[in-house]
Amino acid sequence: MWRCMTEIFALSLALLLTSCSQKTEGPAVGIMEPETGQNSVYGSPAANGALLALEQAKSEGVTFSILGPEDIAAGGELARQAYSRLMRYNPVAIVGPGISNDMLLVGPLAQRDGVVMIGTTCENVKISEIGDYVFRVYPSYLGIANDLAEFAVRDRGSRRIAIIAERSNFGRDFTHIFQQRAQAIGGRVSKIIEHAPEENDFRGQIIELLASNPDSVLMSSQVAQMQAILRQIREAGYTGLILAPSSFYDQESVSAVGTPALGMIVAAYAFDISSQDPKVVSFRDSYRARFGAEAPQWAAYGWDAALPIIEAIRSGARTSLEIRDYISRKPQFSGLTGNFHFDQNGDVALPGRIYEVTANLDFRVIR
């Protein structure tokens, strides 16, 4: 009898200690981003930016707990697992993920569980349809694809456009939107070639692409693939216009490619991480001090994704429902990327710009 009671007592004590170790202070806010793998180029800075915002808010006396950042690496099932790990601590809100496919996977789970989720750099148009608990601070690629098509056809007079696209939701959707817009204003897509997401040798596809004599080539793939395509297409002798989506609007990515990137056109939203805006300067300094590296532009989207959650908690919101209502109703947030608010689909609207890569391998606004 005594032995049985001792065992029950020991078990209860163990459970109590376990639950104590998982206890969080105030509402919990999680972060999930790909910090390793090929998407870490966006995920790691976005997670750092969000972490910086949350840590600063805590140091200013806002009471909440930070969970993570959870690394979702290559995404897919790993994203689902990262979400489950965060959910053990009942977070009221989650910052991230920044990759569209991962958001399309875990966003519906957050919607089902009633947890506010704010995507950092995800741009798939279908994210708008997930539900009222899911937001994002990066606009969908609808505007970017239209801007690129208009620039190529109207400003540069392209009439034969070839497209090399990743065989994925992003590659297909971006290509489709671009093609529709280009054809509507008098352009013609002369060839579309898809490649497998894991590919790194595109020479075969490039020759077939160039066989259609294009005057512009659009790439709609991940950054690592676009870097390889850019090198290999220049190596094949193509000297015409090359167009890329906003994921290539990154100094580090362009510098890694070098001279083949000269003259490339990138459509992106009008945020400049090297801006002299005091808020951005202060962010860059804090980021450098905290992480020992210069802040890439994706870090600012991490910061902006954490901002609405912090403001909601600061105003007294304690549950997911209260945070969601606060975020949906607030007319304007003053973020690093500009003043923004969320529409009824949880999306933001930022003005788009067209950039050209100059001889110094930096970006110059041309439209």
């Binding site: 390793t36 793998g37 090929q38 870490s40 690496a73 065989r167 060839k191 579309i192 070639i193 898809e194 497998a196 894991e198 590919e199 790194n200 040798d201 020479r203 075969g204 596809q205 020759i207 077939e208 160039l210 066989a211 004599n213 690592a224 870097q227 390889a228 090198r231 190596e235 094949a236 002798g237 890694a256 070098g258």
Partner: protein, 294 residues
């Protein structure tokens, strides 16, 4: 591009891709001929060669030095690894349970190579980008080195047929017990073949990494096996021819842009070839007579 330029560019790409496939298919064919099993270890030595290229690119900024170091290291490591695994297989009775033992070892080796690479370089290097690290424009020579390497290998194989070593190798491959009765060291010949095959695939992996980077999960190894089957599994020359055919089909598939056209067209081509010629397009001649007199 005019049509002549286009035709030339396509031909060059087909030859280069066929050579990359053949660099895997020929060692596979050699191994299959002598050891009587399809040596999947070679996929791991190929990847190991890729990672050694990456190590080389990190060790020195001098491209020539780094390149020389990595191809040498890849050949030595690949050859040694292949012999070591063959000996392990022999010790656990590969003759009686070839498929199971071999597959377990192959899987183990593949995972070990990946785990080692992740431990040493971190997960970001799974897509080894050696050419990008060193500056792609300096390394256009690497893809031509693959082509030269394959042509040289095929020439050596042809020459071997007329030497004593070559005749002993053929004898050991075709009828090991009869060859052993005649004093031919069959086990040693098997290990020599494993060493040559391992060294060749690691060397090829290294060259490929210096060219475009090695992608562990690409279709290259699968296409090499398809090329081997299409050409004639026991014949290195046939395997090379099979790879050339599949490389041509692959290039054609890009122009069509059908969904997963590359995989579908290559698989259809292989099925058609095997229906018409079940032993491949260029099978070895059957050897029933006196091996030495041949």
């Amino acid at each position: 591009m005019n049509s002549l330029d286009l035709w030339l560019a396509r031909s060059v790409l087909v030859i280069q891709y066929a050579a990359a496939l053949a660099a895997l298919a020929i060692p596979l064919s050699l191994s299959l001929r002598v050891n009587k099993f399809l040596n999947f270890h070679l996929a791991s030595t190929y990847i190991a060669g890729g990672y050694l290229a990456y190590v080389g690119s990190k060790l020195s900024t001098d491209v020539a030095l780094a390149f020389s170091f990595s191809v040498l290291a890849a050949s030595i490591v690949g050859g040694s690894l292949s012999v070591l695994l063959l000996m392990l297989n022999e010790n656990i009775g590969i003759e009686t349970a070839p498929a199971d033992a071999h597959l377990v070892f192959s899987l183990f080796l593949f995972l070990a190579v990946q785990a080692l690479a992740v431990a040493v370089f971190g997960p970001r290097t799974l897509l080894a980008a050696t050419a990008e690290q060193a500056g792609a424009e300096t390394l256009g020579v690497a893809r031509w080195a693959v082509v030269s390497f394959v042509i040289l290998g095929l020439g050596c194989l042809k020459l071997l047929r007329n030497t004593l070593f070559g005749l002993r190798w053929v004898a050991a491959a075709d009828n090991p017990s009869l060859a052993a009765d005649q004093g031919i060291p069959v086990t040693r010949l098997r290990r020599q073949t494993a060493m040559a095959a391992g060294a060749a695939t690691a060397f090829a992996g290294c060259l490929q990494a210096w060219d475009t980077g090695v992608q562990p999960y690409s279709n290259l190894f699968l296409n090499a096996v398809f090329g081997l089957l299409a050409g004639g599994a026991f014949s290195p020359l046939g395997a090379a021819a099979g790879c050339l055919i599949l490389a041509t089909v692959r290039q054609t598939s890009f122009g069509l842009n059908v969904y997963r056209g590359e995989e579908v067209l290559i698989a259809l081509c292989l099925i058609c070839i095997l229906v018409v010629r079940p032993r491949g397009l260029f099978p070895t001649k059957s050897r029933t007579g006196d091996l030495i007199s041949e």
